[in-house]
Amino acid sequence: MEFKDYYQILGVDPAAEAKDIKAAYRKLARKYHPDVNPEAGAEDKFKEVAEAYEVLKDTNRRAEYDELRKYGGRPGGGFEPPPGWQSSAGADAGHFSGDFSDFFNSIFGGGFESGAGRSRRGFGIRGQDIEIEMPIFLEETLAETSKPINYQIPVYENGQVRQLKKSLKVKIPAGVAEGERIRLKGQGAPGEGDAPAGDLYLHIRLVPHPLFDVEGHNLLVTVPIAPWEAALGARVTVPTLDGRINLTIAPNSQSGQKLRVKGKGLVGKTGRGDLYAVLKVVMPKESGGEARELWQQLADKAAFDPRAEWSRQA
């Protein structure tokens, strides 16, 4: 086991005063708290910092730690508590919610259990809540669907952590939205003793669709049209999440123009949203021969300056 230099972790001098230790902890906690900092590694860093503070903020614990530091405190070197070592300061479960390191437990451990999201009830500790990401296709949100899920839960056995594979079939209610969490009661990690199991949370992630974009409960679909379709009007077939519809494009339509198709969006709490068809005028890759001549005729005859706005300002 490696000796942990709590002073180094908090970036303070071993002779630092309590108020400086507090300030150093607060600064680092703000920076690395996993609820604020989504970066990978932030959570581990926060746990380390919180553990260091847990020891150094308490006068008795700090005194015991300082003693051990003199005894075996070479960072990087192997560390074993002295034979017969027993802490009188101990640890309290009041402040810190994370797991402590083996190093911490070897010094202050004994009769102390900790774990994020666990609580005591009767005998034993409630199982941990588990959260997994649940990718959902837009098509699947239109009606209630059932989906198989596979996940792993950590099981503690004789001080060891083992991953237990679990499979479930779950009902996903219609109209689930991005970021929503579905709670499956008692499907998390098993509790210790007679304590209840934790819950499983499915964090809904809408899979990006190759055709449709989401805006609240409305959907957007980009409809490519030819320049002459925009000019003369047309009737085009447009895909929706459930089937196809015919759409009338008015003469003289613009690129970027939105046409509303009522009730073809996503399922919401107050009914279905709408689908917006966004027109995108697309040019043919090449136009040679007769087509080119026709364009030329159009250029000569159409009195149209798309940049009229600019010349007025200049």
């Binding site: 607060r26 604020v36 919610s97 609580s119 409630r126 079939k169 991005e178 579905i182 980009t222």
Partner: protein, 102 residues
């Protein structure tokens, strides 16, 4: 088939988290989360998203040793950040449909 739910009662929530109801009341009083239903605190029901924010608020207050007003501000900003990130992702996706590949 397992029963899934998008809601949690204050009693269940406090049991799961091992916290007194007073903490949840404080979170609601500071406008960090609002119950879905229930007139009095013991009858409150939250959606799971609100429950997530309550959990975060309680953790932040404890771990950062800050008061509820500061926690409420942090949660507001975190919410805004989450919304902006989502909006940004969606706008980028839409933009790609109009921009040409180089």
């Amino acid at each position: 088939m397992t029963t899934s739910t998008l809601q949690i009662s204050i009693r269940e929530f406090c049991e799961c988290e091992g916290i007194p109801q007073g903490l949840v009341v404080a979170v609601v009083e500071h406008g960090i989360a609002r119950p879905l239903s229930g007139a009095e605190a013991p009858e409150w029901v939250f959606d799971t998203a609100s429950a997530g924010w309550i959990r975060k608020a309680i953790r932040l207050r404890r771990d950062l040793e800050v008061d509820w007003v500061a926690v409420a501000m942090v949660i507001d900003l975190l919410r805004q950040r989450e919304q902006l990130q989502l909006e940004n992702r969606r706008l980028r996706q839409r933009l790609q449909r109009f921009a040409l590949e180089e």
